[in-house]
């Protein structure tokens, strides 16, 4: 579920083909998502899943798998 949501957001916001986005994708190196763009991605996820991500948590994200793990943790915490 989270991978699909991330794929959709990245393709809609940054025009990356969904097929290029896997769990192993590195945001910056593979998908061209720099620090500002990753904050936009997290903002989209916060709104979609009604969660709040701390600043420090955003800084630690490097791969799509990291975002998925973060979303899993946050949705559990806030459930």
């Amino acid at each position: 579920m989270f991978l699909e949501a991330i794929r959709k957001a990245i393709s809609e916001e940054f025009f990356v083909d969904e097929s290029e986005i896997t769990e192993a994708s590195r945001l910056k190196e593979d998908l061209g998502i720099d620090s500002l763009a990753s904050m936009q991605l997290i903002l989209d996820m916060e709104q979609k899943f009604n969660i709040h991500v701390e600043d420090e948590e955003v800084m630690e994200i490097e791969t799509v798998a990291d975002v998925i793990a973060l979303l899993e943790k946050k949705t559990k915490e806030e459930a």
Partner: protein, 404 residues
């Protein structure tokens, strides 16, 4: 040691074309880029006619992801700068990136980025950098890999000319070798148009032929426009050393401030005249050497009259000798980008010996009795060309160009 400063590259995007060649052809032909608004943000825009850049231009020339969070001004600046840099043919190893600076002025920045973020209640991480007035200058430096000075000089609609003038001074006094300078703006965001309309500064009718009519007795205000224009400037030695094509030389730069009113020009044009005189002093020429004045000519009642009085004051009894034109009759008012585009057109005028017309002129205001090039361009050998740019807030900037 002082350096002579030359122009070796030019790029532009405007309501009358997406590159310098196209814009120049359209200027020569007297083509009007003012038309009904194609892509308004909402249906409550208080004007029907605008000078709009065709959306296909950024879509063709930039990546979608670069456009998405950027202001239109930034996208236009990047397109114009890419054209100017390619035109200057600054290949790797022929210049020092640490001695290449950027000065791209913008007066509004990303009004539409602010509008969109606020009205959708979506204030994301691109809201500030996307809307910032410095964004065009920052992004152009990034594209060019220019590590020297970067400033976005802000002086309303004189901005593009101040950017070129200040860049010229940097090179002249040896502080940089190369400068990428110009202006980029969009006056077409919903709230910016509303603000200008509330000032009663805009033409609000729907007759293209009576819309942007500088110096005409029936003029009622300016037509909001958008675009960008960028020049590559370098020292003469630097250009010669790398075998660059030299379009023209910047012969003089003059400036002043009315210190008079937030928006209205000083009615007698006194300080605009001082800017023109300073530019001529800087170029070390007398007024009779100026063949042509590319006027600010916005089509507002106050500007055009004050500008003509300023020309009278600066040129004395020979004030009807220089041929005067305003390309805003074709482009509308691209704010700081107009000042830079008018520099580009001035350089093309010198290069081709052809002065483009002020179109849609029906009856010249008797209070604006300068020697207007009316409705059709004329072939004239030009010696020195003066480009005037003034801005709300009393900013006055004047550039003089000549053949090298």
């Amino acid at each position: 040691m002082e350096h002579r400063v030359v122009i070796t590259g030019m790029g532009a995007v405007s309501p009358i074309g997406g590159n310098v060649k196209e814009i120049w052809q359209n200027c020569k032909a007297g083509f009007c880029g003012i038309a009904p608004f194609q892509n308004p943000e909402s249906d409550d825009i208080p004007v029907s006619l605008v000078g709009e850049v065709d959306n296909r231009i950024p879509e063709e020339k930039l990546e979608k992801r670069d456009i998405r969070f950027a202001s239109r001004a930034t996208s236009f600046a990047r397109i114009a700068a890419k054209e100017a840099l390619a035109d200057a043919n600054l290949s790797e190893g022929t210049f020092d990136p640490e001695r290449m600076g950027v000065m791209i002025s913008s007066s509004i920045g990303g009004g539409e980025v602010l509008d969109k973020g606020i009205s959708n209640n979506q204030i994301g991480p691109f809201f500030v950098p996307g809307s910032a007035v410095h964004s065009p200058s920052a992004m152009v430096a990034m594209d060019a890999g220019a590590h020297g000075i970067n400033l976005a000089p802000v002086s309303a609609c004189a901005g593009g000319a101040n950017a070129i003038g200040e860049a010229y001074l940097r090179i002249r006094f040896g502080m940089e070798d190369v400068m990428i300078a110009g202006g980029a703006d969009s006056a077409l965001s919903r709230n910016v148009i509303k603000g200008f309309a509330a000032m009663r500064a805009l033409y609000t009718g729907d007759d293209v032929s009576r819309s942007s009519i500088p110096f005409d007795a029936e003029r009622r205000g300016f037509v909001p426009g958008e675009g960008a224009a960028v020049l590559v400037l370098e020292s003469l030695e630097h250009a010669l050393q790398r075998g660059a094509h030299i379009y023209a030389e910047i012969a003089g730069y003059g400036y002043s401030n009315d210190a008079n009113h937030q928006t209205a020009p000083r009615e007698d044009g006194r300080y605009a005249a001082i800017a023109m005189k300073r530019a001529m002093q800087d170029a070390n020429i007398s007024p009779d050497r100026i063949t042509h004045i590319n006027a600010h000519g916005t089509g507002t009642r106050l500007n055009d009259q004050a500008e003509c009085l300023a020309i009278k004051e600066a040129f004395g009894e020979d004030y009807r000798k220089p041929y005067v034109t305003s390309i805003k009759s074709m482009t509308g008012h691209m704010l700081s980008a107009s000042a830079a585009l008018e520099a580009v057109v001035s350089v093309k005028t010198l290069e081709e010996g052809f002065i483009v017309p002020t179109i849609h002129l029906k009856s010249q205001d008797e209070k604006c009795d300068v020697n207007l090039v009316q409705n059709e361009g004329i072939a004239v050998k030009t010696d020195y060309v003066m480009s005037n740019s003034f801005g709300f807030g009393g900013f006055n900037a004047v550039l003089i160009f000549t053949k090298k």
